[in-house]
């Protein structure tokens, strides 16, 4: 990842407008061809530095809901449970964390009732209880990580 990649990642986390050529503005600003912006983005995706470039969908604006769920899973059973949890398309993210509650996942459903249904199914399939910790209030969503700061 070079300096141009870093600028691209930082700038493009803020989002682009829906226009015919969404990469033209940043290409002009950086003084490189649009095709190079696209090529760099593709490489960043292929290398895993970006998980994707595209629309980020908000379940709540769709009339659905999100929740954060936590489970306490014994180490010997962790892989099996992770497989069962991740198999649900409504599970958007899942992280292992160092804590008694060691599996933390976000459930996003198109219908609010979908959250409870998915959590119930997961509890039933895995045999472990899932804490349901829905967001009550959001205090500010910072848009970006600084791709330049950590390296």
């Amino acid at each position: 990842m070079d300096e141009l990649d870093r600028v691209l990642v930082n700038r493009l986390q803020e989002g682009v407008e829906v226009v015919e050529r969404p990469f033209a503005a940043i290409a002009a600003e950086l003084g490189i061809p649009e095709a190079e912006v696209c090529g760099r983005l593709q490489r960043l995706v292929d290398d895993g530095l970006l998980t994707r470039f595209g629309p980020m969908i908000d379940a709540e604006a769709l009339g659905g809901a999100f929740t954060l769920a936590a489970m306490s899973v014994p180490a010997h059973d962790f892989e099996r449970v992770a497989g069962l949890v991740n198999a649900h398309p409504e599970v958007a993210h899942n992280y292992r964390r160092e804590h008694r509650f060691n599996m933390w996942f976000v459930v996003a459903a198109e219908r609010p009732e979908g959250i409870g249904e998915v959590l119930k199914a997961i509890e039933h399939e895995t045999g472990y209880r899932a804490l349901d910790l829905p967001k009550r209030r959001e205090y500010y969503l910072r848009l970006k990580l600084d791709a330049g700061a950590a390296r």
């Binding site: 493009l12 829906v18 593709q42 970006l50 969908i57 604006a61 992280y95 198109e110 969503l141």
Partner: protein, 171 residues
């Protein structure tokens, strides 16, 4: 999705097809909406018009690069969790959320006795030590209003796809 739910959300079958086709990522070409138009047999103008509308309504939060913070060098990801006095949690949550190093800050319910924490603040940094230093700053800010706290470091991403719509419903 039922007809009633579709009317409530205003996500008609064409919107859904467009979102399903793009949610995994746009084609990284100079005219991505033209590439999608070819695939979906919808005009590029119609795709752009609908995506603008979805952005305005907030169904699409933004069209952006989604980084993998581990790959970017933010190897330490600490979810700091706090048990804050209920009457003060909103006021203090605003202040914590405004800290530059806090990427997300939410109030969530306690689930007693297992889970006493009602405020969540996500802190990313290059090292765990840096995360701990940043969390100490939050502890100073919260002062006596926080009865206890913990930091849950992530050790592995098990899944990160983002919200996915199902393609088959309503199509």
């Amino acid at each position: 999705m039922t007809v009633a739910a579709m009317e409530r959300n205003g996500l008609d079958p064409v919107d859904r097809r467009i979102l399903v086709a793009t949610q995994g990522g746009l084609p990284l070409v100079p005219r991505p909406y033209y590439a999608i138009a070819d695939r979906l047999d919808i005009s590029p103008e119609e795709i752009m018009r609908r995506m603008r509308r979805l952005l305005e309504r907030g169904v699409i939060r933004r069209i952006a690069a989604v980084p993998d913070h581990y790959a970017l060098g933010y190897r330490a990801n600490g979810m700091s969790v706090w048990d804050v006095d209920d009457p003060r949690v909103d006021e203090l949550g605003q202040q914590v959320g405004a800290l530059a190093f806090v990427s997300h800050c939410y109030r969530r319910p306690r689930v007693l006795p297992d889970w006493p924490y009602n405020l969540f603040a996500m802190v990313h940094a290059a090292t765990r030590l840096e995360v701990a230093e940043r969390v100490a700053t939050i502890a100073d800010l919260l002062g006596g209003a926080a009865r206890s706290y913990d930091i849950l470091f992530s050790t592995r991403i098990l899944k990160k796809t983002g919200m996915r719509l199902e393609g088959r419903r309503g199509v």
